[in-house]
């Protein structure tokens, strides 16, 4: 197993209140320095609530947003998005909203042909053959090729989106909430398809979602994002069963689960910190039942082996999710 994707101190900040001249009024750190490694053939799940920076991270990975700082390495080579036709062959993206990621004025064939033509310079016959192969692999009928996007259901459109990503023959796919717009019965279809493809083609996935159960079900490892920073990374089966970061625990306790009684897992300040005016130290401390003085002073760093958490007071490995956190902390 080799590292195919390596993020080193990847950071993104947006200036706020731009002026015509001079400096902007403020800066929002959408993504704090993030270090992650993804191994060949692995699925890394990234989970977090809205506004935690997961989409920003994803867009940086595929070169749609330039990072403010840090580096991205693919197969050991730094990512260079100067030439879109080279770049597209390395890494591809599957969008959250399957319909709006397809140009409403183009037939599916035109959509599918673009990467084949631009990235691989195939001639017409080769393209037709390749499209047929890809469509077969994602269980789509070839008669769909001459239709327009609005004629498809969400699940079908998402398969088309996956097919397009496959056409580029990149080995890394960034899946940005690929099933959150789909109904559960269809969601399972798509997730299973993704799993099959990965096995067949030896792909590496970065799977981004807000749905803990889905992430857990598809991922080898999971990274939990909070306020633009990775607060915990660990094996999928461990991370929610035995979270080390209080935030991960909060997430796990919040997910509605059949058979668990309804409780408000949290009664304190529930809102995310103000991104324009971030708190000192740990961003979670205002919501954290274990917060202490040091939490306000120092930003905790990821620590530990394998299962790592960025917390000054990590939870005991043995404490299970069933341990309810007192709401008044």
């Amino acid at each position: 197993m080799s590292t195919v994707l390596k993020l080193d101190g990847l950071t993104k900040s947006f200036p706020v209140g731009k002026r015509l001249l001079g400096k902007p009024r403020g800066v929002v750190h959408a993504v704090q320095p993030v270090d992650l490694e993804v191994q060949q053939g692995e699925t890394l799940g990234i989970v977090g609530e809205s506004g935690c920076g997961k989409s920003t991270l994803a867009r940086m990975l595929v070169g749609l947003l330039p990072p403010t700082d840090g580096s991205i390495e693919i197969n050991g080579a730094p990512l260079d998005n100067a030439d879109p036709s080279e770049f597209g062959k390395k890494i591809q993206y599957v969008f959250q909203d399957p319909i709006s990621s397809l140009n409403p004025r183009k037939t599916i064939r035109q959509v599918m042909e673009a990467p084949l033509k631009r990235l691989h310079g195939m001639n017409r016959a080769a393209r037709d053959k390749r499209i047929a192969e890809i469509f077969a692999s994602v269980n789509l009928r070839e008669e769909f090729l001459d239709r327009y996007p609005h004629e498809f259901s969400g699940g079908q459109a998402q398969r088309i989106g996956i097919a397009r990503a496959l056409a580029a023959e990149a080995s890394i796919l960034i899946l940005d909430e690929p099933v959150s717009a789909l109904d559960v019965s269809v969601q399972a279809q798509v997730l299973n398809l993704l799993a099959d493809l990965k096995k067949e083609l030896g792909l590496t996935y970065l799977f981004i979602s807000h749905d803990l159960a889905v992430v857990e079900a598809v991922s080898d490892r999971v990274a939990v994002l909070y306020f633009g920073a990775v607060v915990e990374v660990g094996r999928a089966e461990e991370i929610f069963r035995a979270p080390r970061h209080p935030y991960t625990q909060l997430l796990a306790n919040s997910a509605p689960v059949v058979g668990r009684a309804l409780t408000a897992p949290e009664g304190r300040e529930t809102e995310l910190p103000d991104p324009l005016n971030p708190p000192s130290g740990c961003a979670f401390r205002a919501r954290c039942p274990h917060a202490s003085e040091i939490c306000a002073k120092e930003v905790p760093q990821l620590s530990g082996q394998g299962h790592r958490a960025a917390c000054h007071h990590p939870l005991d490995q043995s404490s299970a999710t069933e341990t309810e956190v007192s709401s008044q902390g």
Binding site: E49, G88, P104, A165, A168, Q189, P256, V257, A264
Partner: protein, 627 residues
């Protein structure tokens, strides 16, 4: 083709199109028609009335045949109007697309320039341009086109900015397309309809503007005349010989009006929202067209009792049976969960109760809704209104969209109270603060003056709940109230609702697609599929031993936390379209147990006690569940 048929279906647009084609045809064949020479003067026979001496429309101040001049003038006016619109659209679109696509400094620079040009009342700019270039039709054309460029540029830029951030543009970039190619193949095809709409709705205006410049004597030069200069020349004889003014004036009116009619038609046909009939205004209450007998309420005890409720959407020739005969009831203090995938009809059922299904296209076509024993379907609007928000309150899904963005949340609460109770503003406000406190909004006194956008999603939904509680309702219908929220927030909202209903003895109908939520909150659950309830019963019993294959397979699809990495169950196929429902069980095509009998007749929802299932081959024998 679809575009043409849509266009033709619009009768007014078609009429406009016919008139315009006639005018265009006339203009095209004008040189071939046996008309008098439009420029030959005959000063002795000036100002002849229509019909005199073979001049169908009479003659002008130099004795020239008005009909000939009118047709030749029409040719000119049309040519100039179309040309001006084309050039304005072309350059405006080019500028707009470049500014909108590249954004940043390019955009800033271009748009400042456009702002500058738009800061002039356009006529001044046009006049100045004509003055600088000299009078003449070509120069008038240039001026009219030039002053309209900024309008197009701004319009197209706005559209392009929206498109440039669309995901399919990102996708194209990832597919290896460069900027030029993206603009040409991704942006342009999507902008062209907008350009066409803008053009079709401005050509008439352009013709008016050119006519205006000609009217001022800055356009066409004699003896040639467009309609504007004809009107300008005729103005001198307005009082003595009004027909010379009326003829070109009426022609301008006819042309511009037919162009506008057609333009509206083009816009309607091209605008996807209009195409889907989405721009129709929902009426205050859903239309009711009940056929057949009205089912009786049956046994009492329920505060709200839906009997055989049917709601359909009538879109053009299609009938979507969104709700196909639903029976539901909820007793005081009870929480009923209604679960289903999108398109299953769960929200429509909820909205039908108080006649809130958008209509058109929604129609309640059958069944009854008994509230405290009285049927609300077809009740007078005023009765419905009096109950809405008072006895029966709603909580909706996306609190950002469902709160009025321009009113402070306090005002919205106060309104909800005062609509039903004649209390003073200050009293209502005090009550609003109390409500906000009840839903555990911190600093309620200051939060009351916030606007919805100043609050987080969770806070907004609390306001939504407070609003539903404002008049101490008997029933709350919550339509996916937590779907748009993050899990941590969802958990809080659910626990709040649970507390409230226990404190107040509220009846709640809770619509959701999430089994976890139903399991935690609801006493009973009803599972919907394709507009009908396929299974119902006490929540615990149904979840433990689902009877309908759909229920059981759906539960299996949902990944549960803590299971680690695994393969998920999936249901093959797609939910059926409710406008083409086959007889029999709607789930049959996806069901592993389906037999021929499943596809035959109607299958009843039956079962012992509180449990019932609509299936010939249930997964398990039903046992009477405990509510």
């Amino acid at each position: 083709m679809q575009f043409l048929s849509l266009l033709l279906r619009n009768r007014l647009a078609a009429a406009g199109g016919v008139v315009l084609s006639l005018v265009l045809l006339l203009a095209l064949v004008t040189p071939l028609l046996p008309l008098a020479n439009p420029d030959v003067t005959d000063t002795a026979n000036r100002f002849l009335m229509p019909g005199e001496q073979g001049h169908w429309l009479g003659t002008d101040h130099l004795g020239r045949d008005l009909l000939a001049r009118l047709l030749h003038g029409t040719r000119l006016s049309l040519a100039v109007g179309f040309a001006a619109a084309f050039f304005a659209a072309f350059f405006g679109a080019a500028i707009g697309i470049i500014a909108g696509y590249f954004g940043g400094r390019t955009d800033n620079l271009i748009m400042r320039g456009v702002d500058m040009l738009m800061a002039f009342p356009y006529i001044l700019l046009a006049l100045a341009i004509v003055a600088a270039l000299g009078p003449g039709l070509t120069n008038a054309l240039i001026a009219v086109a030039a002053v309209n460029v900024p309008f197009f540029a701004r319009n197209i830029r706005g559209v392009t900015v929206g498109l440039a951030h669309k995901e399919f543009v990102d996708a194209a970039r990832l597919a290896g397309l460069g900027h030029t190619r993206i603009i040409l193949t991704e942006i342009l095809p999507n902008v062209i309809p907008v350009i066409v709409i803008a053009m079709s709705t401005t050509i008439g205006w352009m013709i008016l503007e050119t006519a205006g410049l000609s009217f001022l004597g800055l356009g066409s030069q004699p003896p040639q005349a467009d309609l504007g200069s004809m009107l300008g020349e005729a103005r001198g004889a307005l009082i003595t010989n009004p027909h010379t003014s009326v003829v070109p004036g009426a022609m301008i009116l006819v042309i511009v009006m037919s162009i506008n009619l057609l333009g509206d038609g083009v816009r309607d046909a091209l605008d996807p929202r209009l195409r889907s009939g989405a721009l129709t205004r929902p009426m205050p209450a859903t239309r009711v067209e009940r056929k057949g007998t009205i089912p009786a309420e049956g046994e009492g005890g329920a505060v709200l009792n839906l009997r055989q409720l049917q709601t359909q959407f009538h879109v053009k020739n299609r009938i979507y049976k969104a709700v196909g005969g639903v029976d539901l009831k909820v007793a005081p203090g009870e929480c009923l969960g209604v679960i289903g995938e999108s398109g299953s009809g769960k929200s429509v059922t909820a909205l039908s109760v108080m006649g809130l299904v958008a209509s058109p296209p929604g129609v309640i076509t059958g069944g009854a809704v008994y509230f405290q024993g009285q049927d609300l379907v077809g009740a007078p609007y005023e009765r419905l209104r009096a109950l809405r928000g008072d006895k029966v309150a709603y909580i909706f899904q996306d609190p950002l969209a469902t709160l009025h963005p321009l009113y402070k949340v306090g005002d919205q609460l106060v309104e909800a109270i005062r609509v039903h109770h004649p209390v003073s503003r200050s009293e209502a406000r005090a009550r609003a603060v109390a409500l906000l406190k009840q839903v555990r909004i911190p600093n309620a006194e200051s939060r009351i003056d916030s606007y919805p956008h100043e609050m987080s999603g969770g806070m907004r939904q609390r306001v939504g709940i407070a609003m539903a509680l404002a008049n101490d309702p008997e029933v709350i219908i919550a339509d996916e109230p937590t779907t748009a929220l993050d899990v941590t927030v969802q958990a809080q909202i659910l626990s709040l609702l649970d507390d409230l209903r226990r404190e107040r003895g509220l009846a709640i109908i809770f619509i959701t697609h999430d089994f976890g939520v139903v399991a935690q909150l609801c006493d009973r659950v009803a599972v919907m599929y394709a507009g009908r309830i396929v299974e119902t019963g006490p929540t615990a019993a149904v979840l433990r031993a689902p009877a309908h294959p759909y229920t059981s397979r759906l539960i299996a699809c949902v990944p549960e936390l803590g299971g680690g990495r695994r393969r998920l169950e999936a249901i093959p196929g797609l939910p059926p379209a409710v406008d083409r429902l086959e007889p029999g069980c709607a789930f049959a095509p996806r069901c592993l147990k389906a037999s021929a009998a499943c596809r035959e007749g109607d299958i009843a929802l039956e079962g012992p006690g509180a449990r019932a299932v609509r299936c010939i081959h249930p997964e398990a024998e039903l046992e009477e569940g405990v509510a």
